[in-house]
Amino acid sequence: MAEFILRRILQAMLVLFVMTVLVFFGIHVIGNPVDLFASSECTKACLDEIMVNLGLDRPVWQQYLIFLGNLAEGDLGRSFTHGVPAMSLIWERFPATLELAVAALVLALVIGLPLGFYAGLRPDSWISKAIMGLSMIGFSVPIFWIGLIMILTFSVKLGWLPAIGRGDLVTVFGVRVSFLTLDGLRHLAMPAFTLSLLMMSMVIRLTRAGLREVMTSDYIRFARANGVPEYRVLGWHAMKNLLIPIVTVLGMEFGGVIAFAVVTESIFSWPGVGKMLIDAISVLDRPLIVAYLIFVVTMFVLLNLVIDILYSLLDPRVRLGAGAA
């Protein structure tokens, strides 16, 4: 057991190391940050001075080692455009992204589970077919377009919901959140729904497929034969087994949702890390781009690591299989 966990941790560290190499050297191919700082009458001497200030006069492998050393101390450099440490910008904006992603997750479950249940219980009714058709569209349509249509409908035509920003914020335990004010909720509604569509479609499909499988199993039939009321059969006995795949898939998808927030945040001008990344890309703010990528990839690797370890604790077959391979 300990060996398995150790192996997974080593693997995760290897992946992180490879990613720092890829991201660092990849980013160093693009653009010349000196141009960002140089004014038009800048002479050769002043250009060289900027180079030295940014540490760009050293050979690239030295720059990488310095970068690694700083990374170990949690320092990812200063943003070229904001002039403050890149990590502090990320920590400042990450709560907004996290709030959006969690809201999307909640919406996906609250809307997706009942719809999937209905479609699984009455697979031949036309409502079920409509639900499945909609989930197909949820899988297919690029979410940025859904966001556009929602802005057009609810902001431009009907004027019900604001199209951009986060609205009024409340500070809870030092974190500023918008879901506790009415204005914040109105701002949150459209971005969260847009971001949740893909997960929602997944929840609908998994619930439906899982329910149809579970309903034919013996333990459900015995529960019914024992006179367990129908709402309890569905809401408790069937639900317990249904939730396993759903929780697994959502857990693995959650990192993807954070990544996809880039799109949603750009459309709705939601002030999270995704919007920050797109802005950083447009001005080639290298440290900020690198910091975002390292941050998200680390989060991802940790998430996968935790899921794997939890799995191996819950299901010994995983760990045996991994040991044999």
């Binding site: 990849g26 980013i27 693009i30 880039v262 799109v263 990839v297």
Partner: protein, 295 residues
């Protein structure tokens, strides 16, 4: 005997496919859109890349409006006075080219890797599958974003980025199917006949992976088109001179707030219909080719 059996299997497959009216309609829609894209230069009322044929005086006309020159803009015009119908036809062409090219390259590369992994086994298999796992554990949009930041804009670059995010799906699928096929009697028989390993790999195992590959390829193509549109919308995919559907939608975004909906909604509808029809076809293919995957 075998020769007589083949056409009937194909016919059975075709019949099974068209048993679903939805799938039949989706296939027709997809074929029609492909034809429209291929012959875009013949059917488009205007060449949207030729600035001389575009009049700035005709900008932001709603659908159905007649221009000063007497031309009817059935789908309206954009901010530069471009005919939206023409722009959409050419945009559709670019979206399809990107989806198809990246799909085919990823298919070829992924299949090769998958076959090698299944056939060689051992550490080669373990290494390749670790790379595949790594690739699949990162969200596609993130990987594509990183690559495009590094590579820059351009149709070739977005195809490279899409290939990188897609090949792993093919590799994993092919490896799985090839491992199953590898253990079958006909492969043993071929080995017993002392056929060369490469011949067994490409002429015996590969053909039996094709049905599954076709399903994955269809779904991946829809994904690629959708992802390209998303990236172009973010300003990371294609150069603005030759807009794909995603870029057209992005261009219209600025006008959306002022109520000029057609510039981004109409290309979006085209994109939606295209991606949904490919997905419906893919779903049906899976049902027909892999009955055990139904669910």
């Amino acid at each position: 005997m075998i020769i007589a059996e083949r056409p009937s299997r194909l016919r059975a497959f075709t019949r099974a496919f068209f048993n679903s009216p939805t799938a039949a309609i989706a296939l027709c829609v997809f074929v029609a859109m492909s034809l429209a894209a291929i012959f875009a230069h013949l059917i488009a009322p205007q060449d949207p890349y030729d600035l001389r044929s575009v009049s700035i005086l005709d900008n932001l006309l709603p659908p159905g409006e007649v221009s000063f020159g007497g031309m009817t803009y059935w789908m309206g015009t954009d901010g530069q006075g471009r005919d939206m119908l023409s722009a959409m036809l050419f945009g559709l062409r670019i979206s399809l080219i990107v989806g198809l090219a990246s799909g085919v390259i990823a298919l070829a590369f992924g299949t090769l890797i998958g076959l090698i992994a299944a056939f060689r086994g051992g550490w080669v298999d373990a290494l390749l599958m670790r790379i595949v796992d790594l690739q699949l554990s990162l969200p596609t949009i993130l990987v594509a974003l990183i690559l495009l930041v590094i590579l820059g804009r351009g149709i070739d670059k977005i195809i490279i980025a899409l290939v990188v995010v897609q090949w792993a799906y093919f590799a994993r699928t092919v490896r799985g199917v090839a491992l199953v096929e590898n253990a079958r009697d006909y492969v043993d028989a071929a080995r017993g006949l002392r056929l060369p390993p490469l011949r067994i790999l490409f002429f015996h195992i590969l053909p039996n992976c094709l049905p599954t590959l076709l399903v994955v390829a269809t779904i991946q193509m829809a994904q690629a088109i959708s992802l390209e549109a998303t990236l172009s919308f973010l300003g990371l995919g294609l150069p603005p001179t030759r807009p794909s559907l995603g870029l057209l939608i992005a261009n219209g975004f600025d006008y959306l707030q002022s109520g000029r909906w057609w510039i981004s909604v109409l290309p979006g509808v085209v994109l939606l219909v295209l991606v949904v029809s490919i997905n419906v076809v893919g779903d049906r293919l899976r049902e027909v080719l892999n009955p055990h995957l139904r669910g």
